[in-house]
Symmetry: C2
Subunit: 177 residues, 2 copies
DNA sequence: GGGATATAGTTGCATCCGCAACTATCCCGA
DNA sequence: TCGGGATAGTTGCGGATGCAACTATATCCC
């Protein structure tokens, strides 16, 4: 479903022939185009931004994400589960990511004294320095590759649309009509 | 940068304190919100769709993508490089993906007689059957999770915006002003 | 108090990915 | 015809992911 702009009529017909029904009845063409555009835009952006960030700071996009989440909050600390949540990765993924960040000396993990199950991940001074060093170039890259592609009005529309989609897919699967 | 809607002013201030400059000068807040919305929407959609597809058809999202690309074209065949291109994955990734699809009997790989460097990946009758079996549920899931989230007008705007972003990031890095 | 249950986090395992290096093939010019 | 260079594809390798199972801790209820 990641096709770009080459959507000839013959191809749609070909697809419908395989499916045994008109492809449009299963997924409206306009929705299909939007879905392909989402996959394409996301893929190109993350690929470019990730390699630029790695080159300039030796940090993966996921590393940056996690550190940015910690940088945002007071005390620069979050519980593991909460951090996994906001960074959009699995708990196991976060465990290992924090392992690596800890090896770099960018983050520490310490057990909560009040609830022994909980562990707090905290940005270290060294981590803050690394983040401060990496952030400007990365944020500017986002501004250039993503922000500069659209005028303000369209950017707002994009945000609005994407938020509705995210909201409709929050949490668990819901029974559709 | 994947934060959801909880963007308290205190958090922005906290971030600016770390960066040593107002975060807004590096990345406009409106752009930051859009970027976060994109990451969130993409993450939730692909996670949900991928697990649904795996459950219903034992096929990964990437498998489906590749097979859909082959299904779309006449002869149900594409050259490896071209297929990697439209499926948005690396050449090495495609090599191994086609390996797996071939093990399932869904795709064959055959050397081009005219140019020995070229290999054609072709959907087999069994692969067509598997795709026909998997597609309706998946396309309906896309329609429901993605399509049903937005009215037609906004879907068009979304497509337009995403395409501009994709176009601005086509191919190689370009020198920004 | 003590065991059933729930929650937080980690680990085993299988999988998947991309980059860089490598092989195979083709093409072009001398 | 031969050698250099371009192109297509594969493989070695290191790294990252998620799910399910597991450990550790807390809580609830009798």
């Amino acid at each position: 479903m990641a096709t770009e702009q080459h959507h000839g009529d013959g191809e749609v017909a070909e697809l419908s022939a395989i499916l045994g029904v008109d492809a449009g009845t299963l997924l409206e063409p306009a929705v299909a185009r939007a879905w392909i555009a989402l996959l394409t835009a996301y893929g190109r952006l993350t690929r470019a931004l990730s390699s630029e960030l790695m080159d300039s700071s030796g940090m993966s996009l996921a590393d940056f994400d996690v550190m940015a989440q910690l940088a945002r909050v007071e005390g620069h600390s979050l519980r593991m589960t909460e951090l996994a949540d906001v960074a959009l990765i699995s708990k196991s993924g976060l465990t290992r990511r924090v392992d690596r960040l800890a090896i770099n000396g960018w983050v520490t993990r310490r057990r909560c004294t009040e609830d022994g199950r909980v562990h707090w991940a905290t940005l270290t001074p060294l981590g803050i320095k690394a983040f401060r060093n990496a952030a400007p170039a990365h944020l500017r890259a986002v501004a250039q590759r993503f922000g500069a592609s659209l005028p303000a009005r369209e950017m707002e529309q994009l945000t609005s649309g994407l938020r509705k989609i995210a909201a409709a897919n929050a949490e668990r699967v819901r029974e559709g009509a």
